[in-house]
């Protein structure tokens, strides 16, 4: 008998290979990872897995493990910032069963594992800056009752998260635009918010015949800067500096500035462009010149880039820019 048992333990069945212990948690239960075999990692397929789990077993055994597994797969599916998905996960928990019915249950953590699981879920929401809504409160109430730890967590979140949400003085929409151009507009509006008189222009480099890079340029210049630029002595060169970074939540956008460094008051125009190549910076200068800054045709401009942003080698070709006095300095 004992030998049989021992044999059984040693015997690794091939089907066992399909099972694996979930790495993200310290739980000892081994479950099949239902998320691994999805061909497409999208929100729809993620929700499908949840639905399959809900439909599969009427008792929904192993739902805590399932939720933990689902939580750690969120990034992979790109749904970690989606409230609907978190709600779908909470909906996996059975309603009513975990609500304490007497003071002892209420005091001594009724269904601790499930409560911890819901708290972890809320924690993950908080880490991803997803704010729950009123409906979520209702779902949690139906699951754990008003004495549940997840409810306390929820209420704390709802106290603090709105306070933190709008702390930044620079407003960004709830969902950042996917279009880089729109994102850049937001970025440049933030950088130039110091002077409310700043005008933001969007130009296409195609306007300049000699431009190699066909891209867009967002340039910001205030009227004061324009006046200062017009008064710039021709003997003193202007300097382009950059690229600098500006962060919009988790997005980073780079920009360049045009400075007149020898004068007391720095004058700077700021630009963002699609490629950040030197050619596009040249186009920027030409476009600035074209748009009410005629002095730039005669003032030398020095490029002092902190790091070469692309491998495009820049050599002056006199025929491309005939009257150019722009100097390129590494």
């Amino acid at each position: 008998m004992a030998a049989n048992l021992f044999k059984n333990i040693l015997n690794v069945r091939s089907s066992n290979l399909l099972f694996k212990k979930w790495k993200g948690t310290d739980k000892s239960v081994i479950i099949r990872d239902p998320f691994g075999n999805r061909p497409q990692k999208t929100k729809d397929s993620y929700l499908q897995v949840i639905k399959m789990f809900e439909d599969g077993d009427p008792r929904r055994r192993g739902h805590v493990e399932f939720i933990y597994a689902a939580l750690s797969r969120m990034k992979e599916f790109g749904v970690q910032k989606d409230l609907e998905v978190y709600k779908a996960l909470i909906d996996v928990l059975p309603k009513g069963k975990f609500i304490p019915t007497n003071i002892f249950q209420a005091e001594f953590l009724h269904y601790p594992k499930q409560q911890q699981c819901a708290v972890d879920l809320l924690e993950q929401m908080e880490d991803n800056a997803v704010m729950p809504d009123i409906e979520m409160e209702q779902m949690l109430l139906n699951t754990f009752g008003r004495r549940g730890i997840p409810l306390r967590k929820y209420w704390r979140m709802m106290y603090w998260m709105p306070k933190f949400k709008n702390l930044s003085p620079w407003y960004l929409p709830d969902e950042l635009p996917r279009d880089v151009l729109e994102l850049s507009k937001l970025a440049i509006a933030r950088i130039t918010s110091v002077d409310p008189d700043t005008k933001i222009n969007v130009w296409q480099t195609e306007e300049i015949q000699a431009a190699i890079d066909k891209t867009w340029i967002i340039s910001a210049q205030s009227r004061t800067q324009q006046v200062l630029l017009a008064e710039q002595p021709l003997s003193e060169p202007l300097i382009i500096k950059g690229p600098y970074n500006v962060y919009l939540r988790d997005q980073v956008v780079t920009y360049f500035t045009l400075l007149g460094k020898l004068r007391q008051e720095p004058k700077d125009d700021i630009n963002l462009d699609g490629t950040s190549s030197r050619d596009s910076l040249l186009s920027w200068i030409r476009l600035l010149e074209k748009n009410d800054n005629p002095l730039l045709a005669n003032v030398p401009v020095i490029f002092t880039l902190l790091a070469p942003s692309s491998d495009v080698s820049l050599h002056e070709s006199p025929d491309a820019i005939p009257d150019d006095k722009t100097q390129i300095a590494e």
Binding site: Q48, I50, K51, M52, K87, A88, N166, P196, D197, R223
Partner: protein, 619 residues
Amino acid sequence: MHGCKIVDYKGGRNKKPLKCGAIPEASAGYKRKIRISAINLDTSEATQPSVQEEKFSFEDLKVIERVENRKAKILPFMKNVFISIFDRDLLAYPEILTKEDAQELEKRLTILEKVFQDSKNTIEERKFALKETNMYGATVSLTNGGLAANNTELLRYLEVISADLKLGQEISDHWVGLSALMKGLDKDDYKNVLDDLISGDHTVSLCIKETLTDRLKQEDFRTTAELDSSGTWLLKGEKICTNQSSYMLVLSLVEGDRVKAFLVHPGANGVQYKHNLVIFNDTPATPLEHVREEDLSQILGVSRLHTATLCRMNLSHGVRYCMDYIKPRFFSGKPLMEMPTIRSVVGDSMLCMYASESAEYFTAGLLDGYLEPDAEIEMAMCRNFMAYHGQAMLLKLLSIPDVERQQESLTMLDSMRQLALRGENEDSVNLFIGMYGLHYAGRAMATEIKQIRNPFFNPMFFIRKIVSNRHQEQDSPKLDLYLAEHLHPSLKNNAESLEYCVKRMRFACETMMSRHGLEVVQAHTELTRLAQAATEIYAMAAVLARASRAYCIGLRNAENEMKLAGCFVEASKDRVKKLLIEVIDGEYLNLDHFRLQFGKKLMESGEAICEKPTARVFW
């Protein structure tokens, strides 16, 4: 506040309306819209193509109609303030729009904004955008092809449309007219005119006011309607109408004393336009039979709310115009923006706009959120608040660029003046507010007033009254409304200021009524002061509620709102305090008696009533 009702078009069955939370089985699209969990996600449908038999079941033919999910009826809010009763629940600030409503609203607003914010667009392009977004049918129910918009939404639309003030006024009249028609016309008549009106080719204009009479014995209200032998109503009289359009909603007297509204169709006989007058000479019109006078006055009162919004937007255009002027200019080596005087003027106009905006949406919330709302004086208050402060603010604001740009400033001031005089002037609205409020207070305090006016018949009451009024006489009423408990704790001081003002109102009413008795309706100067004080109190309440709500739910810039609320309430409290003390003091202490005498003498003599300062009696 709004749910959705499924209207079953099959006559025999009378289904109960479903609220938004429930999922109607037949409409899958609807179900998908409110899905909150993966339960409803049908995998087989999503992944595999399936052939389904097409079924046409006419039982499934359903139109979703928007029904209003209103709270139970409440006592009139501001009328109660006249007797120092304050509905503290309203300090939560009404929330009317659901998430779905708000999303739909934003979508439509984005389209309108694109067209209206670009000043290059012509009026035709703007009208086209209004038609495209179904703005002309905004108040009409969904089943009739409209948007079933509530007052809160109308205000949002109007804010955008008011970039063109003429269009703004036109569409406001149109909306008000349409709601009156919906309530008052026969179903068939309503259906007949509806297509015309929704399409935007024809609009409704309101003909309510009449010119003042030039004869002593003539009635103030002279337009009459009579039934002719064929059973048609014929209108006779003249009305003021600044916005002349094809359909007209005319108020007229019937059978001597009843007021009834009539709809005059385009091309009707005997209509003559004369400058800003419309003259009706036996003009056939359709009567609005089904609407009571009280309801009609409530519906027409919405026009006042719209006037407030239009005034506010005009002021905000003024601010923007001013900013464009200020930004690139310098004064003694500093940007003009850094001048404290200029900053304070711009800040004041911000305060004014904030208060008015709060009051407008608060009123819209009262109208949309409760059953049988009685918010007539609230609407009038919104109008007067903005008309009064707006004109003063714009004048101050435009004095900044005025030296250089007189012509543009004049245009802006003129449009503000026109808006402030839209349909009526400030005095008449103030009297309306004062009388309505006092009428309500009078009914609540009738016995008390009688006793006060007969002290020797009621000696004990008189003594008790002296004791109970001792705090009021010292201008420090006992604050027992505990308004601060219903607001954010940081607003405690401001809440107490509001409470002080509310507590003073009853005493002011009591003093006025016991002083004048039934003649109180003649005490116009005091009534005006009372109305102004009540208006300020209303604005204070709305501002506090809004700021507190914004701060509690963590809106962006909510800390600014708290400061705005604090500044406004403190300034407003001083104004109310002064006004009410003047009311309580009476005409000899507040010097009204003399001011009236000056006016009287001047008007009677027709010339200055005092000599030039250089004149002498003897040399």
